[in-house]
């Protein structure tokens, strides 16, 4: 569906994309990770046809520079930084809807509502005067309501409050299985339930490309037991938040863990490693 072959891009003799090779298939849900300056944003802008680059790039069999309208009709995009657009909220919705072949205006209002952003209330307000979270919610609603074949999001949840994040992830999980996603984020743990592939970039190259285990995709869960030592109020609170419980033995906690949450769980309890005496995990 999307193929990049030997892509090179440089700015003032600084190589930002270096002989990049990448192929995305329909339904790939990718977490794009890498440090600042790794080339993630340049890759995204190249996919959107905003940068010229050496090499071969095919999006849905088309060239995003020469057939940009056809390509961009299939793409939903949420940028890392919400731009200071002068249009009012209503005008921005109308503007996007006018350019889209898919009737999307009602969908935008409904989706924004689910993300706890009421467009009606803010319809006349200039977009740039909205709070960071509100801007992000509207841009997400605009991108999702196009029903895109390919969704590109650059740090989409960065400005969202907890409720907004939950609503956003709920909406992501409802997208059709054939929607391809490229989600750039510094918090992979949050994305784990939605992705089936992790791509790591460094110095303009792909240094790691991993398909996630079938267990995660199948949504399997794990039986988990953890023995802690001492009082450890903080670790107990953390385990409570994961809905772990302790029975007659006050130091022995047990609970169920979704396979997809395994990495996130490890990251959270790693800080209490000195208080963990024993940890057992078994697939159900």
């Amino acid at each position: 569906m999307i193929k990049l072959s030997n892509i090179n891009k440089s700015f003032a003799q600084h190589q930002v994309l270096d002989e990049l090779e990448l192929e995305l298939k329909i339904g790939d849900r990718i977490a794009l990770i890498g440090q600042n300056g790794a080339g993630k944003t340049t890759l995204i802008r190249t996919l959107l046809g905003q940068y010229t680059a050496e090499g071969q790039l095919s999006m849905f069999g088309l060239n995003p520079r020469q057939q940009r309208i056809e390509v961009l009709q299939k793409i939903g995009f949420v940028p890392q930084h919400s731009p200071p657009i002068q249009m009012s909220v209503g005008e921005l919705v109308d503007f996007s809807a006018a350019l889209s072949l898919t009737p999307m205006k009602d969908e935008v209002y409904a989706l924004a509502g689910k993300l706890e952003f009421d467009i009606e209330e803010q319809v006349g307000k200039p977009f740039f005067k909205l709070s960071g979270g509100m801007k992000q919610k509207l841009l997400i609603a605009l991108a999702l309501s196009k029903r895109p074949e390919f969704l590109i999001m650059d740090e989409p949840a960065a400005n969202l409050d907890p409720a907004g994040r939950k609503a956003f992830f709920d909406e992501l999980s409802l997208l059709p299985q054939n929607t391809t996603m490229l989600l750039s984020s510094h918090r992979v743990d949050e994305l784990l339930p939605f992705i089936n592939r992790i791509i790591e970039m460094d110095c303009g190259r792909i240094v790691h490309d991993q398909q996630l285990a079938d267990e995660i995709k199948a949504g399997k869960s794990l039986d988990c037991k953890i023995q802690i030592t001492g009082e450890g109020e903080a670790i107990r609170k953390t385990l409570d938040s994961w809905k772990f419980s302790n029975g007659s033995n006050p130091g022995l906690y047990s609970g169920k863990l979704a396979e997809a949450d395994r990495t996130k769980f490890f990251i959270e309890i790693a800080q209490f490693s000195k208080q963990i005496k024993e940890l057992k995990m078994e697939a159900e």
Partner: protein, 286 residues
């Protein structure tokens, strides 16, 4: 829908959408408010000062008002247009607005020409309304309305506005920083201002340059062309202007120069805007 009709439909749709969005945005912008205040306010101020009652070199009534208004326009219209237009593309690029807007299925041509068209409408409407207001006031006061002059001035102002809009868009696509765009805009304006008739006379006297060079400079300078054309209607003998204008008139004739003063800035605007579009389309968009 065939793949051939999609881009065309996309262009029309994107173009109209961009024009409407840009006009709406401009109506809210502070620069537009200031612009309207200056060009509308100038006419009101001139009327309030009773300029139509005064007589200078035989000009009185609305003709006197128009000649003063046109002198004001030649002094401030180009710089105003340049300053506000040079930020169009480079400003959107710097603020990441362009990254988002161009991620939508909008044709590059529609975006660029839509912005330019909207800017032209926005820039020209206040000037046209000011001229219409003067005509209306003249009709109320039973003054003779010089229709041919009003019509010609409107065309000339449109042509001048287009020339500087095109130049502004060219600069806007050429540079990557707003500061550079503004600096370049001022440089262009100052250079053109330096080479209007008054300076040309000085150059001619001091350096005894070839007549063809002086005339060439005068004919290439849209400000000089506008100024000469504006005076020509009132003063066919060109007694108000300097030697360069005399020679131009001798070579091109009255009607020839009137046509030139409209067509040349128009062509210049098209040339620069087309160059700007080529730069915009072929390079990195953001």
């Amino acid at each position: 829908m065939s793949t051939l009709t999609l881009p065309l439909m996309g262009f029309q749709n994107s173009f109209i959408t961009t024009v409407i969005a840009e006009i709406r945005e401009s109506f809210r912008a502070k620069w537009f408010f200031l612009y309207t205040l200056i060009f509308g306010g100038a006419i009101v101020m001139l009327l309030a000062l009773g300029i139509t009652e005064s007589q200078v070199l035989g000009f009185t009534g609305l003709s006197r008002l128009l000649i003063t208004y046109i002198q004001l326009c030649v002094a401030i219209l180009p710089v105003f247009i340049l300053i506000t237009t040079v930020r169009t593309v480079v400003g959107d690029r710097e603020s990441n607005v362009l990254e988002y807007i161009l991620s939508l299925p909008i044709s590059l041509g529609a975006y660029y020409w839509g912005k330019l068209t909207a800017r032209f409408i926005i820039v020209f409407i206040p000037v046209l309304l000011a001229l219409s207001g003067a005509v209306f006031w003249g009709a109320v006061k039973n003054l003779t309305i010089p229709w041919s002059i009003v019509g010609y001035y409107s065309l000339m102002l449109a042509s001048l506005a287009w020339a500087f809009l095109g130049t502004g868009m060219f600069i806007s696509t050429l540079v990557r920083k707003q500061e550079w765009a503004l600096g370049l805009a001022f440089l262009v304006w100052l250079t053109l201002l330096l080479f209007i008739d008054v300076i040309l006379i000085g150059v001619l006297l001091q350096n005894q340059l070839m007549e063809e060079v002086i005339i060439g400079i005068a004919l290439l300078n849209p400000l000089q062309v506008f100024r000469t054309g504006a005076i020509l209607l009132f003063d066919p003998e060109m007694s108000l202007l300097g030697p360069a204008s005399y020679v131009i008139l001798d070579n091109m004739g009255y009607t020839g120069f009137l046509f030139y003063s409209i067509l040349y800035p128009l062509g210049l605007g098209w040339a620069f805007s087309w160059l700007g579009y080529k730069i915009f389309k072929t390079g990195d968009l953001v």
